[in-house]
């Protein structure tokens, strides 16, 4: 099963992930990325969010 990992040290809070997949990602009080649901996300949507993340804070995990 594949998933997605988010690196908050790299995140710049542009919000592209939240715009792309609001059911998977949110931004906390600091505006940085948090994962809402790590269980079996839609691979196409995950891939799109990874592609659009400007800072490179997201990556696909698993196989």
């Amino acid at each position: 099963m594949s998933g997605v990992a988010a690196d908050r040290d790299v995140c710049v809070g542009a919000g592209m992930c939240v715009l792309t997949a609001p059911d998977l990602f949110d931004q906390d009080d600091e505006g940085l990325v948090v994962l809402i649901d790590e269980s079996d996300p839609d691979p196409a949507l995950t891939q799109r969010a990874v592609l659009l993340c400007p800072s490179g804070a997201l990556r696909v995990t698993g196989n």
Binding site: V12, G13, A14, G15, L19, G31, P54
Partner: protein
């Protein structure tokens, strides 16, 4: 860095054809580029690598091999930089790298995130409604830029920051100078100094009050300046950046978008009949119009390869967003305006750690302004020859300085 003979290089920035504001680079200029990463001559005498492909622009803007600090010797400049003190640059985080940049940017990220912008959407709607009521009540023909495109984002950013809109003539005149690459360097310095002292006084007034106010500047004073995390000089620079970026970009997007949509009446119909479709239209407008047409300048700080070219430490590099957004490898029929396409990969807001922090605000303003206009002025039409419209060819932010319309 070795000597490069600049005489035979094409001169950059390129201009849009005088009668066609929707073509970012003319065919003649395109034919002079000898590859996707190529050298061009700068108006300040030097040269820069021009990166034009979508994937290369993304790689470059996300890489830490490039600096955004324009004070570095050898940085690609489009005009001679004014003699400016370090104080004049303080807080201007779009020209900072690494941790220094992140520290300031992260103080603002929460302010502009989608869920917070959603909370102010009713305010944006009210501003658009009021502006349209005043516009409709005025004489015809009327200038849509002065009467609608400019006041809407100005009123919104003033409200957000806590800057009095009554002072808009003062800061709008100076923003135009700041963004004009043909402006005299001394005039630029004076415009920066005038804006910084204006914002400095405003911030001092807020600090002197018992409660600095429930706006962005007030919150930064309470949460960052008072505990000693942020200095006033830095806050002034951040406010300057937000004030200018907050009204110039959206204003020019609205003006150009309206001109384009007047040539595509079915898209107006679509916005009027089904405002839910507006998000997709706005993304395609952002891609197709890409108003930051002079690109994003950087300087390599170590040797790096981009698009098969070796770029050496110290060399200047410019990411040309407007051509990357017309890259046929990413967008089918890239030269066509197609509101039905998936435009989400566009780079109109840049890419990398400096990607526009205000993009959720920009998207909301464009959607609400354009759907409002479509609903309230269904008979809107151009009241001038499109070839005669004054363009902002020398501005960092391209657009129309006037758009005469009637209805």
């Amino acid at each position: 860095m070795g000597e490069v003979l600049t005489d035979r290089l094409p001169l950059f920035p390129f201009l849009s054809p005088g009668d066609d504001p929707f073509t970012p680079v003319t065919g003649a200029d395109l034919r002079r580029l000898d590859g996707p990463v190529t050298r061009v001559k700068l108006p300040t005498g030097g040269w820069t690598w021009l990166v034009t492909r979508h994937r290369d622009v993304k790689q470059m803007l996300r890489s830490d091999a490039f600096s955004a600090d324009a004070a570095r010797p050898g940085f690609p400049l489009l005009r001679q930089s004014p003699p400016q003190s370090a104080e004049g640059r303080r807080g201007g985080f779009i020209r900072m790298d690494g941790e220094e940049h992140l520290r300031l940017r992260r103080m603002l990220t929460a302010e502009f995130m989608i869920k917070n912008i959603r909370r102010i959407e009713p305010l944006i709607g009210q501003v658009v409604d009021d502006a349209l009521t005043a516009f409709q009540a005025g004489q015809r023909p009327a200038d849509l830029v002065a009467g609608f495109a400019l006041p809407v984002p100005s009123l919104v950013i003033c409200h957000l920051l806590g800057v009095p809109y009554a002072d808009h003539a003062f800061f709008q005149q100076r923003s135009v100078v700041l963004l004009d690459r043909s402006a005299d360097p001394l005039a630029v310095r004076d415009a920066v100094a005038g804006l910084r002292s204006y914002l400095g006084r405003l911030i001092e007034d807020k600090r002197a009050g018992a409660t600095p106010g429930d706006d962005l500047l007030g919150r930064l004073i309470t949460e960052r300046v008072r505990p000693g995390e942020l200095e006033v000089g830095e806050l002034i620079g951040m406010a300057l950046l937000l004030l200018i970026a907050g009204h110039e970009t959206t204003a020019n997007m609205i003006g150009l978008s309206v001109l384009l949509l007047l040539q595509h009446p079915h898209v107006w119909e679509r916005l009027r009949g089904d405002p839910a479709q507006a998000d997709a239209v706005v993304e395609e407008l952002l891609r197709y119009l890409t108003i930051v047409r002079q690109g994003l300048p950087r300087q390599a700080i170590r040797d790096v390869e981009v698009g098969g070219r070796r770029i050496r430490a110290g060399e200047p590099v410019t990411a040309l967003l407007s051509l990357a957004n017309r890259d046929a490898d990413v967008f089918d029929d890239a030269e066509e305006f197609d509101p039905y396409r998936e435009a989400h990969q566009h780079l109109a807001f840049g890419f990398g750690v400096h990607q526009c922090i205000g993009q959720p605000l920009a998207r909301a303003e464009l959607r609400i302004a354009l759907t409002g206009l479509a609903a309230r002025l269904p008979g809107l039409r151009l009241a001038a020859d499109p070839a005669d419209l004054p363009k902002r060819d020398n501005s960092i932010v391209y657009g129309l300085s006037e758009l005469p319309v009637t209805w």
